[in-house]
Symmetry: C2
Subunit: 381 residues, 2 copies
């Protein structure tokens, strides 16, 4: 089959690259690399790809291919035209991992995006430096906890928020399961918890913020974020796996909101847990950062989830390493972190980290104010 003519589109030559880890022997891995080049662009039989600009520029290009991990797997660097991403986060993700998400033994290990592509992202508004300025905390890890358990009334949740703030927590978020339930309506919760934290701040002279969960249906996500701001929230929590990565981006980049945003990993775990998917560092580091999160929550090593120390370190690294003009963001290790694990985590992450201790903060003793003070002491040592 041939077309009415070779495509005569004009395509600027700038390209971006994706590093893929490929499982299998060398022949299989190389076949996967070749396949990715077609699948992620033309999705067309190789022998029928029109010559000229489509074959030469649109189709992905293997820029490098080598064995890694002592020959156990392979790594391919594949480049695509920047224009294939159409200046859209959704389409960029589609080129990176759309159809090949349905193929086995392919993992996205790194995005290498030139400035032209990074320019479609405003990136994190606060980042590490901005969030530290907002909270007036420069020299220690930030303390983060969650209002829970689901099923408390908004009055009870706001009372907890008051106590956490009094005890010295820096950021208090909704548990990620709190949305707009009949037993905890969103607007009322945001108002009460914002007031409770403000009351504690007046007493302590500190700058604790409350972050409600704005993970919501399409029709209400942006509106809910705006209402949260009006009702006194100091930041926002969102689960992009549920609401969409571009929804996070839209909320983070909205200048009428202009609040720090932290990303929660709910519904995203399947991408990182097998040989098919996206690496921890790319999903919770690079992609969260592109989306404009100022901090990225993920389960810490040694907790009730299965991430290794190395995987967690890769998230921290890709949250902070140079990425054009995008600000570095806070890794927020969480997920069953106990207060006992803080010293080890401090050694791993250093001070530019936000420790999210939820249930563990209730376990230490009967008084959450005292528990929060104890948490604070652990990071001030």
């Amino acid at each position: 089959m041939h077309f009415s003519g070779k495509s005569n589109i004009k395509l600027p030559c700038e390209r971006f690259s994706v590093v893929y880890k490929l499982f299998g022997n060398e022949k299989e891995a190389y076949a996967k690399a070749k396949d990715i080049c077609l699948e992620q662009t033309v999705e067309f039989p190789e022998e029928l790809v029109p010559e000229g600009v489509i074959a030469d520029h649109i189709v992905g290009r293997i820029e490098d291919f080598k064995s890694i991990a002592g020959g156990e797997s392979y790594e391919a660097v594949i480049s695509y035209p920047v224009d294939c991403a159409a200046g859209e986060f959704t389409q960029l993700l589609n080129v990176v991992f759309g159809n090949i998400s349905i193929k086995t033994g392919i993992k996205v290990e790194r995005l290498e995006l030139p400035e032209k592509l990074l320019s479609i992202f405003k990136g994190p508004r606060f980042g590490i430096e901005g969030l530290r300025e907002l909270l007036k905390v420069q020299d220690r890890p930030l303390l983060f906890t969650a209002l829970k358990p689901m099923g408390l009334t908004n009055e009870e949740l706001s009372e907890l928020a008051y106590k956490f703030a009094l005890g010295g927590i820096d950021i208090i978020k909704d548990d990620h399961g709190l949305s707009n339930q009949s037993f905890s309506p969103f607007d009322e919760r945001v108002r009460l918890c914002s007031e409770a934290v403000a009351r504690a701040n007046r007493e302590t002279g500190r700058h604790c913020i409350y972050m409600p969960n704005v993970t919501a249906p399409y029709s209400d996500a942006l509106a809910r974020a705006k209402r949260a701001k009006e009702l006194g929230a100091g930041g926002l929590l969102i689960s992009p796996g549920l609401a969409g990565l571009d929804t996070l981006k839209t909320i983070a980049e909205d200048d009428s909101i202009a609040l720090p945003v932290i990303s929660h990993p709910a519904f995203q775990g399947s991408y990182v847990l097998s040989n098919n998917g996206i690496s921890h560092g790319v999903l919770f580091g690079q992609i969260a950062r592109l989306a404009g999160a100022d901090g990225t929550i993920y389960p810490n090593f040694g907790g009730r989830f299965s991430f290794s120390k190395e995987e967690c370190q890769s998230i921290a690294r890709m949250s902070t390493e140079e990425m054009g003009s995008l600000k570095p963001i806070f890794p927020c290790p969480a997920g069953g972190m106990s207060l006992q694990s803080i010293p080890e985590s401090l050694a791993v992450y250093g001070k530019d980290v936000i420790f999210l201790v939820g249930g563990g903060l209730f376990r230490h003793g009967d008084d959450v104010v005292e528990n929060s003070r104890y948490f604070r002491k652990l990071v001030e040592q």
Copy 2:
């Protein structure tokens, strides 16, 4: 730690259930089931869960637990209060698989939703019956193809659309990689391809429809769908893995659009490919249907992807079995389907299926009109 008082929220007793497949030995599997009950609701240490309504109703409840597959794995039915889902698709998905997406060896096998929960979904507008009426095709599988490869001009794509329609294809979609690239701007593409298909319909007297890809960033997704309608599109394609499942729902349920919508699996594959995730039938059947898709695209067995015949059959089954008042929807097997595989697929799916043949339709011979006629003959036998 105890709270200011037991929560005194009132909770209607209606519950919904999720069937999970759990990997490991019996003890491990049962521990996973218990863990899910907490993780997906209160996310709180078991010993600290407040007595009363939270312990008795909010926390998930194991309704059944048994070994399956000859003891190789286990199955737990876990129920949650309908009110925990807050009447929101996003929050329902969060309760079903939010945090536990980050735990290994847990797979969602079935959703069992009572009418009260189903009522938050309008469901598919057309479904099998409605789409057949729209296309005036009652007694055979529907024929579906894609405009590709990426890199053709909009004029070339529209010329292809004309030929496909002339040859007897029922639904012609954008390749899922076409969004709003500089070399194929969305509005122009929709206008040209809609006109081309209308021209062919005038010549053939048939009712072929063109479905542009409306997968788009948050700020433009709904608007793009509305523009597509105004520009003459006969249906819409969307990848909910990229745009968000609730974005699909919003577009499908919008009465000012009221076009058939077909779901594409891009960026969703990782959920089904390992022992952590969501089963093929739930993700591409039940969830696509809840979101309001009239058809669900997935890679057919025997193509260039790895789904088994049984997995494909489970998608077809869960797309069509009774689910409250939600209409049955079309399974759309695709993904490297060749024309040669049609007879076998006919035997597996019967007539209520949409065969999506993309690249394979170019392979048969040089003339896509003739290739389309041949495709048509294969299903009319």
